[in-house]
Symmetry: C2
Subunit: 217 residues, 2 copies
DNA sequence: CGGAATCCTCTTCGATACTG
DNA sequence: CAGTATCGAAGAGGATTCCG
């Protein structure tokens, strides 16, 4: 069982020996916002086969990039979680995302919707620090069944799964609607008027949030 | 001939659809410092098969990431060169290189020596802007048959192939020796004393240069 | 000699079915 | 829910040949 390698004394080649394997960076993308279960990963990575995911998870764990752990009771489910080594890939992934945004399909119609992991990365990748000057807010984003917490402060943004802080505003919507808002193909006012998005809190927060990281390619 | 794709509305997935294919990022790495010929690429990418390189080059050209062009006479050879879209991958690659450096093999003995492309990326990836404050110099680096021009100014570094500017110092050595110096496994004074490296110009420039971007993992 | 195309083998991927 | 097992299809790697 010898691993395939570029066998070159080059830092980039070494990195690619590990995370260049198909699916690996996307698995890590899914984990960037927090731990996920096996089936969550399957859902967020449409097209991956179950044996391949299992194999990749094992490799990544052996390399110290992810960790397999049990959630404390009553949950008790086994989840996968990034180590600090895995988290350290975030800036690379954001840079790659910025570059790749110009190759995004024209619409979601032909391809799979982004997962929460993908959207979280997009929110960070397209974040404009200048626009965030003076903004200090936390938003809670409900997309279908999932919840994201977005915090902006001091010109920095962070995105995590779940709800654990008092948000300044809560948005309830679907992934489809959110993508259209995020990419600017749909107007926030219209979404609210048509009941496709519900805001709890100051109605202005939505536009403020969207302006922070609109994907202006 | 349908391309394999992650088919997800995600900027990272879109990027990986293109440069996630095996060898692609390394091909681009080779071109980051300037145009190269087909056989130069073969040499810099040990292990790539000739058909695979040809196929990748065609894909990358169609995607607008590289360009195939003729050098003006008397050279007249066809070379591959990055477009601005391809150049835009540099920051991602530097970030990946920084991350991957901790997985570098302990020594070059078991693996292939870095190519000039790999070394150029390393010089940029491990560059410390703070250390470069007040330094304004150009070094010409002769590694085996190849020549690199390294310019430092205003806390920024740039690396290009060939000689087209008056350098402050010229270093003649082999790739093997340079790698050992760069990784700190070999002392510059010792290299010079043993005639493994020859300096034209101020002898202090070598240490200054090495301090700029020593791979301190 | 540079720049590929062809052929063949081996590994990896992907889809589905199956199990603790 | 969290994975294994199986198997055909696609891709990678190596050698060789072709062409200007």
């Amino acid at each position: 069982m010898k691993k395939r390698s570029y066998n070159q004394f080059c830092a980039l080649a070494s990195a690619l020996d590990i995370i260049g394997e198909r699916w690996n960076l996307l698995i890590i993308r899914e984990l960037l916002t927090g731990p996920r279960r096996y089936t969550d990963l399957i859902d967020g990575l449409p097209g991956i086969s179950t044996n391949l995911l299992a194999e990749r998870l094992k490799e990544l764990e052996e390399l110290g990039i992810i960790r397999r752990c049990m959630l404390p009771p009553p949950a008790g489910s086994t989840v996968y979680q990034l180590t600090s080594l895995g988290q350290a890939l975030e800036t690379s992934m954001i840079e790659l995302g910025k570059w790749g945004s110009r190759f995004l399909p024209a619409s979601c119609d032909e391809v799979n919707l982004p997962s929460v992991g993908a959207i979280s990365l997009a929110i960070k990748a397209f974040f404009h620090p200048q626009t965030a000057q003076g903004i200090n807010e936390t938003y809670e984003l409900h997309l279908d069944q999932e919840v994201l917490q977005v915090n902006v402060s001091d010109g920095e943004i962070s995105v995590h799964q779940g709800q654990y802080r008092n948000p300044d505003a809560i948005f309830y919507t679907t992934m489809q609607v959110f993508v259209d808002l995020f990419t600017g193909q749909f107007d926030p006012d219209e979404a609210v008027a048509n009941d496709l998005l519900r805001i709890e809190g100051d109605p202005d927060t939505l536009k403020r949030f969207l302006r922070l990281s609109k994907a202006t390619v």
